[in-house]
């Protein structure tokens, strides 16, 4: 933390950061009020990517909304796909074949890895090291290849369906997944050696934007941002859904190993460690996956019963909660999506007080925000 002296009269300056800025992860705009390099106030201005995703949900059928969930969080489209499917299934009380659930878990965890890889990569790029970013993307390409194999697209998968998944894993998919995990696991250590424990990197992150546990809970942070503050809350464990109870994995929390508990470095390390846990889960899922159908019989003109449902699942950026009201027609009556990135913006102004401009970039990166989740 920097201290400032008021010996010299200074004038505050208002700087507009974004919406086109290399490290606002898209089109976030932050209005900075600074005293030289020291930020006195940083107000995020969202809405540059507001595309009306919730409104669209009221205009299309349940099946047609599936591709739009891809665009909700394009870095973890599989997780959003499955969240939507789980929510609708909960609403309509549809039994899903077990193999489909296993496949969903496999793709969700693979997507968590690829999403955290982007988080890791873009974070290091924000910190000025461009090379780890490219390493991260290189590994991500392997995940993309796997997804391309199973669902036919690289980024917008549209893989889950209400009642299952769109197709069974093609022959060789599970073997390739295992191959990828074997290839990828040592890379995490390499990242740690390359940059995570680099002195400069640690100094940039440690003790920056500390969020104490109670504050993190009070502000409604979820996912790695909450766990970075040392709160072991993970929906996969605490409110188990799908087949997650069958797997053995641990919830990664921040430890404050290089600074204060709940600083940027903890949030960063939670993501790195979560990749290892995801590898563990995928390994178990691949080993246990049963045979059988992958899609339950769901009428083509699917009409869920009247009612409402809130389903939340653990996405890479925190809790993605889908609140649905059905009036018994083919379209949802109302759709509301709760996302992890949006709530992270609430606390942004509070934690950035008194930091430096370079730290603002570090804080944005440590929250691992993604703009369509904020603006929807």
């Amino acid at each position: 933390m920097t201290t400032r002296t008021d010996a010299l009269p200074t004038q505050e300056m208002t700087i507009n950061m974004g919406p086109q800025h290399p490290s606002t992860h898209g089109v976030l705009r932050v209005i900075l009020t600074t005293d030289g390099e020291v930020v006195t106030r940083a107000v995020p201005d969202v809405g540059y990517l507001h595309r009306g995703l919730e409104k669209i949900g009221e205009r299309v059928t349940y099946a047609q909304y599936m591709p739009f969930t891809d665009r909700l969080d394009y870095l973890a489209a599989m997780n959003c796909n499955c969240a939507w499917a789980w929510a609708v299934e909960k609403l309509a009380k549809i039994e899903v074949p077990e193999r489909a659930e296993y496949l969903r878990v496999i793709v969700c965890e693979l997507n968590r890895i690829s999403s955290h890889l982007i988080a890791f990569g873009s974070y290091t790029a924000d910190m000025g090291a461009f090379t780890p970013f490219l390493y991260g993307i290189r590994e991500r390409e392997h995940v993309n290849d796997l997804f391309e194999m199973i669902c036919g697209n690289r980024l917008t998968y549209n893989y889950a369906r209400v009642g299952g998944v769109s197709g069974d894993a093609p022959p060789g998919f599970l073997e390739k997944t295992k191959e990828f995990l074997d290839y990828f696991e040592p890379k995490i250590d390499e990242y740690n050696n390359l940059i995570s424990y680099n002195k400069i990197f640690v100094h940039r992150l440690a003790n920056v934007a500390v969020i104490p546990a109670e504050e993190a809970v009070a502000y409604g942070l979820t996912g790695p941002n909450l766990r970075g503050s040392g709160v072991p809350f993970d929906l996969r464990k605490d409110e188990p859904y799908s087949v997650y109870p069958k797997f053995d994995f641990k919830v990664c929390v921040g430890t404050g190993e290089r600074g204060t508990l709940g600083d940027c470095f903890d949030r960063y390390m939670v993501r790195i460690n979560e990749m290892r846990e995801s590898i563990k889960i995928v390994r178990q899922a691949v080993a246990q996956i049963p045979d059988g159908p992958v899609l339950a019989k769901v009428p083509r003109l699917f009409k869920p019963p009247v009612g409402e449902v809130y389903f939340r699942s653990e996405c890479p950026r925190g809790e993605t909660g889908i609140y649905l009201i059905s009036d018994g027609s083919v379209n949802p009556f109302r759709l509301k999506i709760r996302t992890g990135s949006f709530v992270a913006m609430n606390i942004f102004e509070k934690v950035t007080k008194g930091l430096m401009i370079a730290d603002i970039v570090a804080v944005i990166g440590s929250f691992d925000i993604i703009l369509p989740e904020i603006d929807r």
């Binding site: 898209g26 540059y48 595309r51 669209i56 993307i137």
Partner: protein, 179 residues
């Protein structure tokens, strides 16, 4: 400002045919060679603006990353519009963002090129029908040279678009054009 006949034409006109032909080839050997050289340098050094709004931005990143490596064609990213030649509109442009896109385009120095990448930038894409706040095609805001379909386009498709743009640049006439 260099004379760039294809710019300012309304979207949709084939850019290559917009420039008037050089009148007499034998009288313009020098001009022709100069054109060739200038166009070669311009097409070989397309620095693109780091401007990604949505999903296509990830594919743009992946196209610049190790496997597809756009740097091979001399295309590197610049963070500021002042030093960019090429604006890759990667992602959805909302009405709130529209003004910024226009401003970014205006901030780029001539000659400048625009590639609309992906369905959102082409036509509004998935948000064409039901969204109330999405610009239905970036060509309503700024002139577009090349459209790349895809949602999002593969990195290969993006590189293909850049190669297409390079071909268009090579056909441009910079000197010896009678006004």
């Amino acid at each position: 400002m260099s004379p760039d006949p294809a710019h300012g034409t309304p979207p949709g006109t084939p850019a290559a045919s917009a420039g008037p032909a050089v009148s007499a080839p034998e009288a313009h050997v020098m001009v022709g060679n100069a054109d060739l050289f200038v166009n070669w340098s311009r097409k070989s050094s397309l620095w693109y603006l780091l401007f990604a709004t949505a999903c296509c931005g990830i594919e743009l990143m992946q196209a610049g990353a190790s496997r597809y490596d756009m740097d091979r064609f001399g295309a590197v990213f610049r963070a500021t519009p002042r030093q960019s030649d090429l604006m890759l509109v990667a992602g959805t442009i909302t009405h709130k963002m529209a003004e910024r896109v226009k401003r970014l385009y205006d901030q780029m120095p001539e000659p400048k090129y625009v590639i609309a990448m992906g369905s959102c930038a082409n036509t509004g894409g998935p948000f064409y029908k039901d969204s109330y706040c999405v610009v239905k095609g970036v060509d309503l805001l700024i002139p577009v040279d090349v459209y790349i379909p895809g949602c999002p386009p593969r990195p290969e498709a993006l590189i293909d678009g850049i190669l297409r743009l390079q071909k268009i640049i090579m056909k441009k006439k910079n000197y010896g054009v009678k006004a």
